[in-house]
Symmetry: D2
Subunit: 350 residues, 4 copies
Amino acid sequence: MLFRSDNVTAVCDEVIAAILAENQGDAAPYGADDTTARLDAVFGEYFEAAVSVHPVATGIAANALALAAAMPSPGAAVCHRNAHVNTSESGAPEFFSGGGKLLMLDGGHGKLSAEAVDALVRAAAPERMQSAPPTAVTITQGTEAGTVYALEEIAAIASVCHRHGLVLHMDGARFENARAALGCSPAELSWRAGVDILSYGATKNGAMCADAVVIFSDRPHAAQLGRFMGQRRLRAGQVFSKMRYLSAQLLAMVRGGVAGRNAAHANAMAARLSKGLAAIGGVSLLHPTDMNEVFVSLPGNVREALARGGFPVRPRPDDPSAVRFVTAWNTAERDVDAFLAAASSLEKVA
Amino acid sequence: MLFRSDNVTAVCDEVIAAILAENQGDAAPYGADDTTARLDAVFGEYFEAAVSVHPVATGIAANALALAAAMPSPGAAVCHRNAHVNTSESGAPEFFSGGGKLLMLDGGHGKLSAEAVDALVRAAAPERMQSAPPTAVTITQGTEAGTVYALEEIAAIASVCHRHGLVLHMDGARFENARAALGCSPAELSWRAGVDILSYGATKNGAMCADAVVIFSDRPHAAQLGRFMGQRRLRAGQVFSKMRYLSAQLLAMVRGGVAGRNAAHANAMAARLSKGLAAIGGVSLLHPTDMNEVFVSLPGNVREALARGGFPVRPRPDDPSAVRFVTAWNTAERDVDAFLAAASSLEKVA
Amino acid sequence: MLFRSDNVTAVCDEVIAAILAENQGDAAPYGADDTTARLDAVFGEYFEAAVSVHPVATGIAANALALAAAMPSPGAAVCHRNAHVNTSESGAPEFFSGGGKLLMLDGGHGKLSAEAVDALVRAAAPERMQSAPPTAVTITQGTEAGTVYALEEIAAIASVCHRHGLVLHMDGARFENARAALGCSPAELSWRAGVDILSYGATKNGAMCADAVVIFSDRPHAAQLGRFMGQRRLRAGQVFSKMRYLSAQLLAMVRGGVAGRNAAHANAMAARLSKGLAAIGGVSLLHPTDMNEVFVSLPGNVREALARGGFPVRPRPDDPSAVRFVTAWNTAERDVDAFLAAASSLEKVA
Amino acid sequence: MLFRSDNVTAVCDEVIAAILAENQGDAAPYGADDTTARLDAVFGEYFEAAVSVHPVATGIAANALALAAAMPSPGAAVCHRNAHVNTSESGAPEFFSGGGKLLMLDGGHGKLSAEAVDALVRAAAPERMQSAPPTAVTITQGTEAGTVYALEEIAAIASVCHRHGLVLHMDGARFENARAALGCSPAELSWRAGVDILSYGATKNGAMCADAVVIFSDRPHAAQLGRFMGQRRLRAGQVFSKMRYLSAQLLAMVRGGVAGRNAAHANAMAARLSKGLAAIGGVSLLHPTDMNEVFVSLPGNVREALARGGFPVRPRPDDPSAVRFVTAWNTAERDVDAFLAAASSLEKVA
């Protein structure tokens, strides 16, 4: 279980406290409550921009609702071939958009390049009916390879997007981990870099069941994205009758720096783990450890050592020697060290 | 706010306790945790049948996923014109099924009759291509009119369904209120009456954000309904990474009689409210008060009296004199009595 | 077979000639041919407006593509309960729009009233998430009851539509029959009355397999309707590799007055039939015979007389005594007279 | 225009004659006519099997309807990355299936291998909810690279399919060209090789606007594919009111060997063209010329020579030196020779 993913964790104290504080008396349903009413303002302050915030219960719902708005039928969205929206959502973007299409690109360490996006969009000329017409680009920050786009990389993609009239969506399931890695503000990592609509992840970072679609309403390309978003969410089963309990989780994360602290801790634990593993003979990092995920290739003796130490590893289906370790807001330093000790135990013997 | 709906309530103590008890250590994500693993067995015992239980965050998600399974494109579902799936879900069944169609029937006090269903299905002969072919019937128990189908009424509809090879779905957002009203077992109100697939409502009855699709797997007409239900839920954003927190809510409701007690209390309060209102001059009940909803027509002086007493009423859009009052698991008897006192205050003066 | 429908007819000579004239040499596929290139200009002249014309093979395709553009998910369209789009297209509008919803109204003789539309749209306030938000109104001209909207009736509905920001779609499967009935120009019956997008029917009026979506591009509410219409049609299987053969049919219909002549003849035959039937004892017209459809209630002796004369009648499923008779571009006057003679034969005996 | 595609051609004489022969008197609409009634029997004889034949107006409609039946939501279909269904249908399979997903594989010369299909299906284990579950495999015969699967190659893929419970669909836009290349019977190239459902192409091979979905009803994996196919087609706008004109085209193609002769001629012309081009210095074939498509890389001087001779070539977007030439049922030998003379004119000079 250790380092399996950041979604195996319990809920952090601040979120539990917020839920319990919310559990007083009646409140209007479907988001008409006072807690939910504060979301736009609190997130607006957090992002230093006009935003509309739409709570959802899962990251897939956030991505799929955002893309459904950004690629209205018969539109298409450009993504990395290994993007979560393509590999791990069982067709959610296609489903939510009524048959939209993902147009995939390759790219090193999980990143799209602005050049590749530009070439694909140019090739799919609107007058060529055979191509589903791209209307959006979606990037994951931090990426599925555990790397983090630099702000300039995002801005370059955004520039291509907007030149072609496309919307830029960011899958921010680990937005806060990426932000902690870059040491930048929420604004810098989103709309200031050109992001129009964001899937903001809170669940992996310490919440119970709360993520959000955040629309930067004043962005020229975001103007239409919020139209009928209430109905869109409701028909998707993502308008909660007791909405306040989800809204309270979101507020607890962005208030008082909880989200940033949780993410920074997870990143630090991953750095410690990555550094320790890389020092073991035969171990190689598959991607830079930019945030809270470590992708490594482990030789047989290290895998055996870990298994003996009570840490069996789950190989990646496509490459048995490759493994992903994920740290979280509650990862204990002593667990990292115990894991590293186990991993290197056979090496020392040899 | 008083009597506005049963979804304005807070979460009951047993559910809060279950959530807090769950918040210990790590657990496998996406429903691979130990708590979720108990769902099928515990609900199986509760329903005295083989079941597969699929937690979702909203009743709309439960209905839409159940209907998507029961009316695979290009199928259609028969429903009451006032059914929640038709009037209050912003097209969720059409959306989840990829363009399925609802075929509507009228019927007194919110109920379909077996005869009307039979006639509609016969008229939509499979060889008439112009009609979307009915593959399911959906009924709401208790109904949108606050009434409760008798077991024989359900069995008669089920008989028509199955004779034509259709699936019977029950929208059980208030399943427990209906059950308390009938004094029957969960089995009697579901599969024994012929129900193949059930939207089981827990949120209105005291949970935080947990309902479930319950498939009665051994029913002949339910055999295919569960196929790929995992992927169906995941692509709909209804597979939660920290699933245990939803599963714990569901277990807390069916264990130890919580669900039944909460519902019975709500019903009792509605009966008290209904009886009190009916005794006021000029007030008439629009439907029998079978469970926890009271539909009344209020004369002007009663409306004015309520407003003076601090209880402004929200008229139904289609009939200004008609009002719905809903009681809940936490409705206080003293609040009912205060409300009744206010309602009759002008009458007494006159 | 006689009077069963106007879609049982063969193809008129002018259309056959146009198809044969087209069958010379190679031509660019998918609508890049010279014949298709003339469509916008020729129809533009016919309608006295800027139009974009999109050939399709069926009226259902025309309606569904038009509505998919006019009610982008999660939008909804207001229609008459007996509208073809609701009763006879097996869910095509719901399917093409990715789960859009039809919001139905009743209305005498197959017509919507501007007042009823206005009331429905007002009730479905955009802020009420439970309602699928109306974004379009669709009317059938001539109607499913064989009646024809007066120009002022259409203008009144259009006025309501546009006041609320909705698009007005006209299902013109029998546009030319309605136009012949009114004695007005194509422009008067469409954009001048406020229509934004039209399903133009040619097949029933003498073509082989050609209808069209006509978008009045300069109408303020039509501006976005044509976006990606090429891809929308192609993904729906409605972009034909040998498009010229469909385009030629459409051109043949609007050139030289063929469409108008064919429709006027059909109308005249229906008038003759209607007048003759109404003169028979016990026969009553169910709707005014405005164009080429006659809806009558026939007493038993007339039905029997027709059957004896070799004209068995197909009762309407919902009312055994009600029958629809449809005349067409090729209906022979002698056939009408023979039919009437048979219908009245038992009456004379008695 | 020369060799641009086989869909630029006019309609062959036999099809024109069939259309004209059909144009006599009235006929029941929507496929209830006598001509359409013969389809299943005539195609059944042609394929030596029980079949249900569903006429459609385009190959995209055939593919999308077949895949919608074969990958009911939330299913997925395995295809080649360059498959027409993926690259050239603007998302039609995703749209028709309500959000289905294409799972892509690479493979030399446009072909899938049974091994690669097996590996992909094994990796997408049904219990892994994140993957859209494969329920079908689709292959194109002849392929998008102008090659033709050997019967054993198809049988091997079919074997993998059926072992995993998947349906095998064949996109047979050029089924007859492939069949002529292999010298086999329709049965051998379809159900005897394991194909469950076929998109049968007639338009490119000489028809006007007629292709068909052919379901091999007796195949175990095809049993459910035809369910509600009538409604599925109707709601897709692919049930034609004057169906007889499409059915007549299909009958004309399979009767008297027209389809086979047309395809064999096209293949012979391509062979002549391919051989001639390959003999020119610097020209290389990119794929074997198995049927009526020639994929070549042309050096600059050959391109220039062709342009001078009045045969400008359209480069492939992804590789400027690569060109596709397609021959058709009506390609003239003298045109091939003139083209070859032009192509080699600069070579001879040099």
